[in-house]
Point group: C2
Chain length 239, copies 2
């Protein structure tokens, strides 16, 4: 049994504004929850309509009814477990490796896929412009498949960040240099732009190098999806 | 004004079985429709709740009410234009270039993204196992962004196809050889496996070479998404 105000609080965490006000976010599904529970993220509360036992030692869920879980969940069909965690403090961005910078990525699925890619390629830091979709959005979290626990994400003013960094700044553009022909350094900032508009003017001025993924098909082809383009560039960086 | 049986027919094309029986499929949205109308695909009928004129010379849409369009559409909010086209005859697969082979891809978004990638990298032929999601599924079509008109797709028995082909067969596995260290030939078949299970046993036996995308993050990381893995491998093929 959960009091009404608590159900309301958790439901409200589907909105970015409320997440930021409360400093909390929601994770759903047993598999994703196990990953988060075994990470450095701090737990606020756990709920389950199935069992108190979620399969992680020392963690007990509050038993709730299917109906109560439905009231908290962002899913049409909640899958039995829901956990609330504290949003971690942003980590200081080191300049020892490549950093991925995202300029106004809007699609939650794309951001989730990109976080998962960074985890795969061992990229520790992602810097997001303030207008990039929130990484604690339920749809983003679902697409990251637990990778969110292994990648540090900062939201910041991108122009200020790029002006301050000592790392060389590489941007991805339609008319850049074929990335295959570029000697990429051991570290740097890689900027990926918005799904429709690419990298904004103010930020493109701060890119010292302009990279492109060469196109082989007809020129009528739409640009590559930003997540698939990121996949290709991270592989080039790690070459 | 459209008769009831016609509304019913078009609605039914959301199901694979009906598409195959009728040899027809549906495309929605003005931008995607323009691409298909300007391709080799044969038009059956065009409908619009906005205007007879869709912006392509010689093409007139049948004017319908918003309600009629809603009855035909697979979208919650239909966007004004809907076209029905004939499913093209499968093209003979040539062995002059790389061919992408998909073993039981299930997610429509993944297949759509992969088709778009093939278009970008100039891969003309995709061979799909018979249990791969149908490429004329509305969600696949939406994700291809018109690329479906520039890539030939065959559904077939994958084992038979791989046994018959003269091309060298490369598969993507968790435990293969780092693709960066491989000298890839000018042509071949690249096999990508199912989202959860990877390449099936019967097909993996037919792969002469086993490729891997090297992982840099912690080993707990989930495997790469199949569409992002395809992006990386197509870039390697075109290197």
């Amino acid at each position: 049994m959960v009091v009404k105000s608590e159900l309301k609080l958790i439901k409200s965490l589907q909105q970015k504004k409320c997440r930021n006000e409360q400093g909390l976010f929601v994770v759903e599904g047993q598999k994703a929850l196990k990953e988060v529970l075994n990470s450095n993220f701090k737990r606020y509360k756990m709920y389950s309509s199935i069992s108190e036992n979620i399969g992680v030692e020392g963690v007990k869920a509050i038993k709730v009814s299917t109906n109560e879980l439905k009231q908290m969940s962002s899913l049409k069909n909640p899958n039995g477990y829901l956990g609330v965690f504290y949003i971690p403090q942003p980590m200081v961005i080191t300049d020892k490796d490549w950093v991925l910078a995202l300029d106004s990525i809007q699609d939650p699925g794309n951001l989730g896929t990109i976080i998962r890619l960074c985890d795969w390629f061992g990229i520790k830091h992602i810097v997001c412009s303030n207008d990039t979709v929130d990484c604690y959005n339920p749809k983003v979290l679902q697409a990251t498949m637990g990778s969110i626990t292994r990648v540090y994400i900062n939201y910041t003013n991108m122009v200020s960040f790029l002006k301050k960094t000592d790392l060389p700044v590489y941007g991805t553009f339609i008319d850049g240099k074929n990335v295959i022909k570029c000697q990429l350094p051991k570290k740097g900032v890689l900027v990926m732009g918005n799904e429709g508009k690419g990298i904004s003017k103010a930020i493109s001025k701060l890119c010292e190098e302009r990279l492109t993924i060469l196109q082989f098909g007809k020129k009528t082809t739409e640009s590559l999806n930003v997540a698939t383009a990121t996949a290709i560039l991270l592989q080039e960086i790690r070459r």
